[in-house]
Structure formats: C-alpha cells, structure tokens
Amino acid sequence: MDKLKVAIVQFPGTNCDRDTYHILNDVLKADVQVIWHEDLRMDAFDSAVIPGGFSYGDNLRAGVIAAYSPALGQLRKAGEDGKPILGICNGFQILVESGLLPGALLRNSGLRFVCRWVNVRVEAGNSLFTKFSENGTILKMPIAHNEGRYYAEDDLLASLERNGQIIFKYVDEGGQPSEPSNPNGSVSNIAGVSNHDGNIVGLMPHPERASESLLSPFRTTHGLQIFTSMLRSVEVLLKR
C-alpha cells in the first residue's frame, strides 16, 4: 500500500513549518512535504496541516490575507472530500478567516502575546484527531499567540456543543475550565473546534512543540496523540 501523504502548507510568514515537519517526518516517519501555498495541489495529498506562524505578518488580522490564497480553494475541496485537515495556531486562524471553521479569533483579552504551557482537555474523544484520547484527557501543550480569543455567538456556540464540534478546552490542574486557566478570554475556554463533519480541526495550542519529552517541562509527549490520530484516520479513510 502507498504510504499516505501529508502536506504542510507554507505561506509567507509561516514559521512552524519546519517544526511540524520534524515531528511528522523524523519522529513519526510519515510521508510529509512542505509545500509553498501557491503550489499546493491537494490531489497529490491525503491530508494537510497548516502550521503556526505569522502568515503575512498578521497584517490586518491574523490569518485573513492567507485566507485569500489559492491554497484555501484546494483545502476547501479536500475538506469536502473528507480529507483530514489540521490548523495549528495561525493555521487555525486561517481556517476560521476562510470560513472553513466556524467562529472568530480575536485579540487576547490580556492585550499581550502569551507564550505558556497550558492544560488542554479533550472534549470530543475518538474524533479524527483525538482517536487515542478519551473525553476528559488532559494534554499538556504550549500556546504562543496574540489573537487566540475564540468567539462565537450564542446560537453558534449552542450548535457547536450539540454537534460535538468543541474539541479542546483550556482547563486548570484539576481539569476544570476555570477563569484563571483561560489564557486569552476565549468563550467557554475553547481551545479548538472542528467543522460540522469533524474532518477539519483547528486549535491554538502547539502539539508539535509538545511531542518530544526533552522539550516538555513535564517530560510529556501529549502532542503526539493528535498527530498519530490524524495519521491513523487517513489510513482508515484510504482503506475505504
């Protein structure tokens, strides 16, 4: 069987492409390639990751300029075909700005960039990206962003909850989505959401930075769960 292929999409200003590549390629031995956004053809790939960074310098709003790249047309189509797509940090912002994911990401309520290791609770276990984590599992991962305050109007929020589209929440050590554990003022402590079909997921925390024990203050590798789950899901999809 052909190995499944993952594209890492690179925009001007993307800066976590090499890190994400390192984890997928060197640690997980996946077949992965960094693709300049103008060159992305999703026919050749089974899945895509939009990594973090500052596409177009966050000018105007984080993610908005990249949302007009032809790459987003490719990703939209791939999403409709059911291919798993993961947006990390700026990737999440791009997916939201292009309408592939619901809601909005606003400037942090603390008005500053925040880099910090946080606790992230899995709200929707057994999804394409959380196959190996049960509901309520706590993942230690770092965040590093300026515009990560997730916002959705009440109706949307209710429907996200109903459909199980809220995938990750910020929680405290005790696993509760408390006020102090919310690093950016996100509504309902939301750290990551999916589209209606569940194959497109965006999250603000950086799983690629939490995938090697050497780099984790807790010697954990929780981020790997997200990537391995994504790779496994593609395999399953391919077999069908």
């Binding site: 007009y68 909005a104 400037r107 309520s109 603390g110 008005l111 003022g185």
Partner: protein, 89 residues
Amino acid sequence: MAGLPRFRIDVFITNKPAIRDPEGESILEDLAILNGFESVKSIRTGKVLAMEIEAENVEIAKSKVIEMCDSLRLYNPVVSSCSVRVAGG
C-alpha cells in the same frame, strides 16, 4: 486608463457594540481614569485604513472601497462593523 482622478477614502473598523473591547476598557480604566481624566466616560478602539483610489468620480470610488471591504473581508462581519468616509473633510 490614464488620468483618472484619485480620491482618499477612509475605512473605519470597530468591534460591534456587543463585542467586548478589552483594549478600550484598559485605556479607559488603567490609564485615563487612574490619571485623573474622569470626565472620559467610554473608549472604544478601532482600526482605520486610509486608502487612495483612482476612479471616475467619488461615488464610484466609494462603492469600489465598500465592495472591497466586503469581498476581501477587510472587517470580520461576525464581530466588527465597518464604515466608509470620503476623507478631506
């Protein structure tokens, strides 16, 4: 195509009233009021884009800019509103 006149159009982007504006709140509370400017009652922050655009006339210029605001999402309609004004007044 040469010789079209240029117009300056300003686009204002502000959070909708229902959306919190932590920056405005912080300028009001941590700066203005703390430093004795109590007569200031509210502050909301926003963004301006001052554009120069070539068009046949000012109406066309304005409508082009409005079209651009919507189609390129210069503002995020979920959370912000946008207004357009011919500058120079």
